[in-house]
């Protein structure tokens, strides 16, 4: 018996039967999710698909989305991992309140998040005046897109990494410290590798959330072609003027989403 076998629960050779009626709501639910995807596939104008997704506007929106989502994912990592560590490893008065507030964007309507950002970093916002003085105008710029995406995507990373940290526990970290490793060495060589699956799935989820971000972006960054008009905004606008282009771009996002799910599954640690 290897140590890995020891904790394995007893599994029946054949799983127990489910109540038969259970398959009815389960099938309805699955159909509800899968049918609309099939509808998009059916609606795609395959003969012009190539030209539709390579039009100048589509290209601009696609690359802008990719760049901003990558940037916001990196920002989520840079700030979210330390936040997760403080939430998982420290205990101080008000910690649980702080956790709830930090995770608020998970449940907050994105358009409200966009408004909040506007009243913070906008020209007449809380910090906007000060930023204006030093010549920085954030609102309605590509930076605003990244900020809106980071705002809505960060909680996904924090939740995922915090869960992984709590699951991993502190036992390995205690051993590492007793072997003479300082806090930074412990973080780099023990903590990070141990929570890597949670970190990867959190980053992938954050990336996906950033890629799909619409409400906060249009509120805080507007819809300026090539600067703030990301793929979801482009799809929404094209829907009016060129439905075929909208459907083609929607399919692109569906494909990206499928890839993201496939990529995130091995590390389904926390969410």
């Amino acid at each position: 018996m290897t140590p890995a076998d020891r904790g394995r629960p007893l599994t029946a050779a054949r799983p127990l039967d489910l109540p038969r009626w259970m398959y009815v709501p389960a099938s309805v639910g699955a159909a509800f999710v899968l049918l609309p995807l099939a509808a998009i596939l059916a609606k795609v104008d395959w003969t012009h698909f190539g030209s539709l997704i390579t039009s100048e506007d589509s290209q601009a929106a696609f690359w802008l989305s990719l760049k901003t989502s990558t940037a916001s994912t990196l920002l989520c990592l840079a700030f979210g991992v330390p936040m997760a560590l403080v939430l998982a490893r420290r205990d101080f008065p008000g910690l649980s309140v702080l956790r709830s507030l930090v995770l608020l964007p998970l449940v907050l309507p994105p358009v409200v998040g966009g408004l909040a950002l506007l009243y913070t970093f906008g020209r007449r916002g809380l910090l906007g005046g000060a930023l204006d003085v030093i010549g920085v105008q954030v609102a309605f710029s590509t930076i605003a897109v990244v900020m809106a995406q980071t705002f809505v995507a960060m909680p996904f990373l924090v939740v995922s990494v915090e869960g992984a940290l709590r699951t991993a526990g502190q036992r390995y970290e205690v051993v590492a410290a007793s072997l003479g490793a300082g806090p930074t060495t412990v973080f780099r060589r023990i903590t990070l590798p141990l929570v890597l699956p949670g970190l990867v799935s959190g980053a992938v989820l954050s990336f996906a959330r950033s890629l799909g971000e619409f409400g906060a972006t249009i509120t805080f960054a507007g819809s300026l072609r090539g600067r703030t008009r990301t793929l979801p905004l482009e799809i929404y606008l094209q829907r009016e003027t060129d439905p075929d282009a909208a459907v083609a771009l929607a399919l692109v996002l569906v494909v990206v989403a499928v890839l993201v799910i496939a990529f995130a599954r091995p590390g389904r640690g926390a969410l």
């Binding site: 140590p3 007793s178 003479g180 300082g182 590798p193």
Partner: protein, 351 residues
């Protein structure tokens, strides 16, 4: 003195102190919850005592409490490597990198750290498993790697918290020999509940009960002349403690035991202890039989089968009888019997 420890933790009702001499292995024995692991945690810097002082090789690691400077050195800067029941090898590193972790953290270059790690793996007999991941090691192998990892960190004091408690009995003798070899001449604190570990690995023993040191001395003395009920149980002896009156040990509840006095005889009224082996106790159904010197009327509280004997428990006293005798006497829980032991079988000494 390598280690000086004293600590008070009000919440856990711990108030104890002990020392470890240079190159000495000290075994800390005691029942569950007696404060053994707490003492180790205080030394390792994982727990700050309400008041306490930890000095290792002349360096003050912890010094706090009323009127104290409040010094506290963090765990990674104490040079006290910890080895617990579970190996806790870092799962993402192979055996060699696990052992090289300590030297690497101390700034040793990678290749030198690996060379040293390989030497330690060889030393504990798992040199050929260096490229294995922890998941590919058996429990005994993993614990050997953990021993190598703790030693490779070159600690000033090695802290072992029941390092063999979670292992398969089949691998224990070999690992015990390995530990005996690597602990020789090394300063270490070994928390254990196994008297064999104490006998083979430790130079000295401290017995804790309810967060206090109740007994300490060389391993041989503590196990052959226990002064605490816990040490007596470990040594497999009956222990009766009371005061010395008219050539016998008298307990508060009226028991009187006479025996062979070891060392200087206690003075009258002084606390004294009598010990005797359970196999020296004869059991009778009727009172007054056998040797008149020591006989106790008792009620059987438990009858426990051992390998080829029956152990009869009657409160704090125990008797070992043959299976045949137990059958003939029809021994059962609740039965009133007489325990009788010859004075020549009883050791008496002052507390």
């Amino acid at each position: 003195m390598t280690l000086e420890l004293s600590c008070v933790l009000a919440e856990r009702d711990v108030d104890l102190a002990f020392d470890v001499a240079a190159g000495e292995t000290l075994a800390v024995l005691g029942p569950n919850g007696s404060g053994k692991s707490t003492a180790l945690a205080v030394v390792a810097g994982l727990v700050a005592p309400d008041a306490g002082r930890v000095v290792l090789e002349g360096r003050v690691l912890t010094d706090n409490g009323a009127g104290r400077p409040g010094a506290f050195v963090p765990p990674h800067d104490r040079r006290t490597a910890l080895l617990g029941q579970e190996p806790l090898l870092f799962p993402h590193l192979d055996a060699l990198e696990n052992v090289a972790f300590g030297p690497r953290s101390a700034g040793v270059p990678r290749s030198a750290a690996r060379r040293r790690a390989q030497q330690w793996l060889d030393e504990v007999g798992v040199g050929d498993l260096s490229r294995r991941r922890p998941a590919q090691l058996s429990g005994g192998e993993a614990q050997r790697v953990a021993v190598a990892r703790a030693l490779a960190a070159e600690p000033a004091l090695l802290l072992l918290d029941e390092p063999m408690a979670a292992l398969d009995v089949a691998v224990l003798p070999a690992l015990r020999q390995t530990l005996r070899r690597v602990l020789a001449g090394r300063s270490a604190v070994l928390v254990t509940h196994d008297p064999l570990d104490a006998l083979l690995l430790a130079d000295r023993v401290v017995v804790l009960t309810d967060g206090r040191v109740v007994e300490q001395g060389s391993t041989g003395t503590v196990l052959s002349r226990p002064r605490s009920p816990f040490a007596a149980r470990l040594a497999g002896l009956n222990l009766v403690s009371g005061v010395w009156r008219q050539g016998g040990v008298e307990t508060a509840d009226g028991l009187r035991v006479v025996g062979q006095v070891e060392g200087d005889p206690p003075s009258p009224g002084e606390a004294a202890i009598a010990t005797f082996r359970p196999s020296a106790v004869a059991v009778f159904r009727t009172p007054g039989e056998g040797s008149p010197r020591n006989s106790f009327e008792v009620t059987i509280s438990e009858v426990e089968p051992l390998a080829d004997l029956i152990r009869v428990h009657a409160g704090r006293l125990h008797a070992d009888v043959t299976i045949q005798a137990a059958g003939a006497l029809e021994l059962a829980t609740g039965l009133q019997v007489t325990f009788s032991v010859k004075a020549t079988e009883v050791s008496v000494y002052s507390r």
